[in-house]
């Protein structure tokens, strides 16, 4: 009998790769039809799978539209349950002294019922789900009825929040450093169609200026909570890489983006608060896959892993794991937790709660102690 008594911790992780092969699952919410083939190269806006729309009901309140009592509305209704109608087909009409009033079908469908309140229930088909590739890559696997696995190669960075948009553009690093910021004036005609790296944080004016300049995307380290709603409304893609506390951009992330300045970038700003591992993605694609390692998430925390600390007082600091399992320790709040030891770039070593580290998988960082 073998008893495994080693305690391991599988941390949350964010991909920060200068060069990697990433396999993305793209799945429909409900079963449908997979359109892509294995081996097919796809572009971000290519449709890879489709699901039929679900049945919905549309209520047409004839009594209200004709401004009559239900009894009169029932007399005016000209359709019967089971009947199929097209958009703008007549549902009801009432002849008055001077004019004839009509109610037409706002959508096509089947008449489900005419209720005694003078309402017509139309059964319609909602628009189906269209699943796009989101990224550039090659379809390497099919998930029958649900979707595909796409493999992309290139520099790949995940963020912590996105506004749901998916855009392609040329990467343009306007911030001078991970802590640098940009001004609205920098969003002139030269950034049109670009995905702009804006540094530490942005103001509402910058978000507005980006709209005016017709950028394709904005990558920023942090965004104040009150700006999230505004960012969500933008038509360009917004990706927050670090948080909401005015953090600077994690140096490994900034370094990758800086190196790729001027290259084509795909930004898939997906975000689902209930699914923490579904993160916004930034891909700077490259055609060659030769010798490029594959990103395999889910391994336990190890010595040498680059991690970002996601809880105060070291919130946003990036360091290297020195001891992945450092036993119990007490936090400033008084809570006793399991922790690890992290070496920061200045060489200082800190006990950090395990749940407060997030691995920047693929990132490299040199600490003064390590060097």
């Amino acid at each position: 009998m073998w008893v495994d008594n080693t305690r391991q911790y599988i941390p949350d992780e964010v991909a920060v790769f200068p060069r990697v092969r990433v396999q993305h699952e793209r799945l429909l919410k409900t079963p449908g039809q997979v359109l892509a083939r294995i081996g097919q190269f796809v572009q971000p806006h290519d449709v890879v799978a489709q699901a039929p729309g679900r049945l919905r009901v549309h209520v047409v309140d004839v009594a209200k539209e004709l401004d009559v009592k239900p009894k009169a509305a029932l007399k005016a209704i000209t359709v019967e349950p089971g009947q199929t109608v097209k958009e703008n087909d007549l549902l009801a009409q009432q002849s008055g002294l001077f004019r004839r009033r009509k109610v037409v079908a706002p959508v096509g469908g089947r008449v489900l019922q005419v209720d005694n309140q003078g309402r017509v229930l139309l059964q319609t088909m909602a628009e189906g789900e269209t699943l796009r590739a989101g990224l550039r890559g090659k379809v390497i696997n099919l998930m029958p009825r649900f979707g595909v696995v796409i493999e992309s190669t290139g520099a790949f960075v995940q963020g912590v929040w996105g506004n749901g948009q998916n855009r392609v553009g040329v990467l343009r690093v306007l911030a001078s450093s991970p802590n640098g910021t940009v001004s609205p004036e920098q969003f002139d005609v030269s950034v049109r169609g670009n995905v702009v790296v804006a540094g530490r944080t942005v103001s509402p004016e910058v978000l507005e200026a980006a709209t005016q300049a017709r950028v394709q995307g904005l990558i920023v380290a942090s965004l104040r909570p009150e700006l999230l709603e505004l960012a969500r409304k933008q038509e360009y893609a917004v990706v927050v890489t670090d948080g909401v506390h005015n953090e600077g951009m994690a140096p490994p992330i900034f370094e990758i983006l800086r190196r790729c300045d001027g290259q084509e970038v795909v930004v898939n700003a997906i975000f689902n608060p209930g699914r923490p591992r579904l993160r916004p993605e930034i891909l700077i694609p490259e055609p060659s896959t030769e010798g490029v390692p594959v990103f395999r998430p889910g391994r336990p925390l190890q010595v040498g892993d680059v991690v970002r600390i996601v809880a105060p007082p070291l919130l946003g600091r990036v360091g290297v794991v020195r001891t992945p399992w450092a036993g119990r320790g007490i936090l400033e709040s008084g809570l006793e937790v399991n922790g690890c030891e992290v070496t920061l770039p200045d060489g200082s070593v800190h006990f950090v709660a395990l749940h407060a580290v997030e691995r920047l998988t693929g990132a490299k960082l040199v600490t003064s102690q390590a060097s």
Partner: protein, 593 residues
């Protein structure tokens, strides 16, 4: 909690028990073993719940939590086969390795969506009592169906709700009808229309509740199109018995449609000697069992990551309310949307600006598994917990009998038990005590406890399978006694003397204190100590026996001790946010939080 061990039948079958509770964020495991013939808590472990890619199998989290126990107890509980499969070692062998029994509970699933149709308002109420006791979200209630209308709404309105919410379960309750009534016919018509919106395999399950003669008509018609369960009423049946049977029927559905679908369920059930139960059900069972044993009024609150629960029970009454989607995890933004940020900030001590508090809250909703690292983050989490608990109390109060309420509508109970990570992990017991006092604002004398080890779901399971173990564990303080609070009600003009109390120690010594209104007092009274307290309130001030009435009460010590709450009601009491936050900070300091 003082529980006479003789109260429980003395049969200790299993030598050792391993329990696991798979929550939406955290998985906890605990080992219970016999020591000198009595069950004792040995060790517990905790790990992140693993239901998301890349580790979507609850067994991974359970194994991690069990490994904590193995390390702490130096005892093998699980083994790995050559192909990497983890097996539980059952039964316990002669060398003490393994366990005899494994039991599991879980809340790592989304709630069932339910619409309730009733012949009469009372029918709907009965169904709601049952459904709201567990992980269900009631998305519509419709009553009095006649001519395809339900009360004030027409069929179209009902179908729109079905279209929007896509319920998993439709309840139809008619406790009095003996034949096919217009409501039953309206329900059939509604169901027929609702079904047209679903794929055949996804149609809602129907639960029919009524007399045999009515269901004789309804059941065959529904069975043709939908999965259906019927709950037959015995003549004259009603009240608690019916609620319990509806609850059981619903729990069966919950198990089939949610519990049994969590990733890794097959292995989890294979380990377990009893059916894996929803956590809320097990916790409610634990508290109900306790109330029956001690014959007192008990209120339990659980503030979880995705769900919260409140249970109020005594020997004659039982009520449980589960609020899915109201917790401190991913559901936090929804909670804040409902209550508003200021409701939370009013319970936040300290001077951190609101702008930064907002950032902390958003950050927390992105990283719900984070345990608060700083004092401000801790206080903020506790502030949100107060608001969530208050919402539970508000939901519970209308259904409480008079024995649980004072003349002003404040809660009265003998034991107030808190659980959920925010209460369980509060580093200072006084923080947990004050959280419970602030949220519940009870009156009279109440003994406060917390489930520091997270064992309540296990106690619930054991109360059904090995009740003697529950007795043993409670007799040995498996629930942490925080202490006793004496809460004064009546006019509380700050600074005015409102109570004189005398503590009489077992050795005959006494200690007298004068209490001023507007303040909290904390007296040292360690766990396990019980002594008599003489309370002499001034006129119009009530300590539970009526205004101005003196009382002698037995109080029990705890990790906080004795707390006299003369702050007045309702709380928070200050008008401005700044003033309120200053006062909350003072209260925290008074009790040593």
């Amino acid at each position: 909690m003082v529980l006479e061990q003789e109260a429980v039948e003395e049969t200790r079958v299993a030598e050792s028990v391993l329990c696991a509770d798979v929550g939406s964020l955290w998985t906890r495991a605990a080992l219970i073993d016999q020591v000198d013939g009595l069950y004792r808590f040995v060790a517990c472990g905790e790990a992140r719940t693993t239901i998301e890619q890349p580790t979507s199998n609850v067994m991974v989290g359970i194994r991690e939590a069990v490994q904590d126990i193995q390390l702490a107890s130096d005892r093998a509980l699980v083994s790995a086969t050559d192909d990497g499969e983890i097996r539980i070692l059952v039964p316990e062998d002669e060398s003490g390795e393994g366990v005899d029994v494994f039991l599991a509970t879980t809340s790592a699933f989304s709630p069932l969506k339910v619409i309730v149709f009733g012949e009469r308002p009372a029918d709907v109420s009965v169904a709601l009592l049952a459904v709201q006791s567990t992980y269900a979200r009631v998305v519509g209630t419709f009553v009095d169906g006649r001519d395809d209308r339900w009360g004030d709404v027409g069929m179209a309105d009902v179908i729109q709700v079905v279209d929007r919410e896509r319920p998993d379960v439709l309840f139809f309750v008619s406790t009095e009808a003996l034949d096919l009534t217009s409501a039953a016919q309206s329900f059939l018509n509604t169901l027929q229309l609702a079904n047209t919106l679903y794929d055949v395999r996804e149609r809602p399950t129907v639960v029919l509740v009524g007399q045999n003669s009515l269901l004789g008509h309804l059941f065959p018609a529904v069975e043709e199109t939908n999965a259906v369960q019927k709950v037959l009423l015995a003549p004259e049946e009603g009240g608690g018995g019916l609620v319990r049977r509806l609850f059981d029927a619903f729990n069966e559905l919950l198990h089939e449609r949610r519990v049994a679908r969590i990733p890794g369920f097959g292995a989890l059930q294979a380990w377990s000697q009893a059916q894996v139960q929803p956590t809320a059900t097990a916790q409610a069972q634990a508290v109900e069992w306790l109330a029956k044993q001690v014959g007192r009024r008990i209120v339990l609150v659980d503030i979880g990551a995705e769900n919260s629960q409140i249970v109020a029970t005594d020997a004659h009454f039982f009520r449980s309310i589960v609020r899915p989607g109201e917790g401190l995890g991913f559901s936090l933004p929804r909670v804040l949307e409902k209550v508003g940020l200021e409701a939370v900030y009013r319970w936040m001590p300290g001077l951190m600006p609101e702008r930064d508090l907002h950032s902390l809250l958003v950050h927390r909703s992105w990283y719900p598994h984070l345990r608060p690292a700083t004092r401000d983050a801790l206080w903020l989490e506790q502030a949100v917990a107060r608001v969530v608990a208050q919402r539970l109390v508000t939901a519970l109060s209308p259904s409480l009998p008079e024995t649980f309420l004072d003349n002003s509508g404040n809660l009265v109970c003998d034991y107030l038990i808190g659980t959920g990570a925010v209460i369980r992990h509060a580093p200072q017991p006084a923080q947990a005590l004050l959280l419970l006092l602030d949220a519940f604002q009870p009156s009279g004398v109440v003994h406060l406890m917390r489930d520091r080890l997270g064992l309540l779901p296990a106690l619930g399971m054991l109360s059904q399978n090995e009740p003697v173990a529950v007795g043993d564990l409670l007799a040995h303080n498996v629930l942490e006694s925080l202490g006793t609070a004496v809460v004064l009600s009546g006019p509380m003009k700050p600074g005015k003397e409102v109570l004189h109390f005398r503590m009489r120690y077992p050795d005959g010594g006494t200690y007298t204190v004068t209490v001023e209104a507007g303040r909290l007092y904390r007296e040292y009274l360690p766990p396990g100590v019980r002594l008599e307290l003489e309370l002499r309130p001034v006129r119009k001030v009530d300590v539970g026996l009526g205004p101005g009435h003196a009382a002698r009460v037995q109080v029990t010590g705890g990790t906080v001790g004795l707390v006299i709450d003369a702050r007045g009601r309702p709380l928070p009491s200050q008008e401005t946010l700044v003033e309120q936050r200053r006062q909350v900070h003072e209260w925290l300091l008074y009790v040593g939080g």
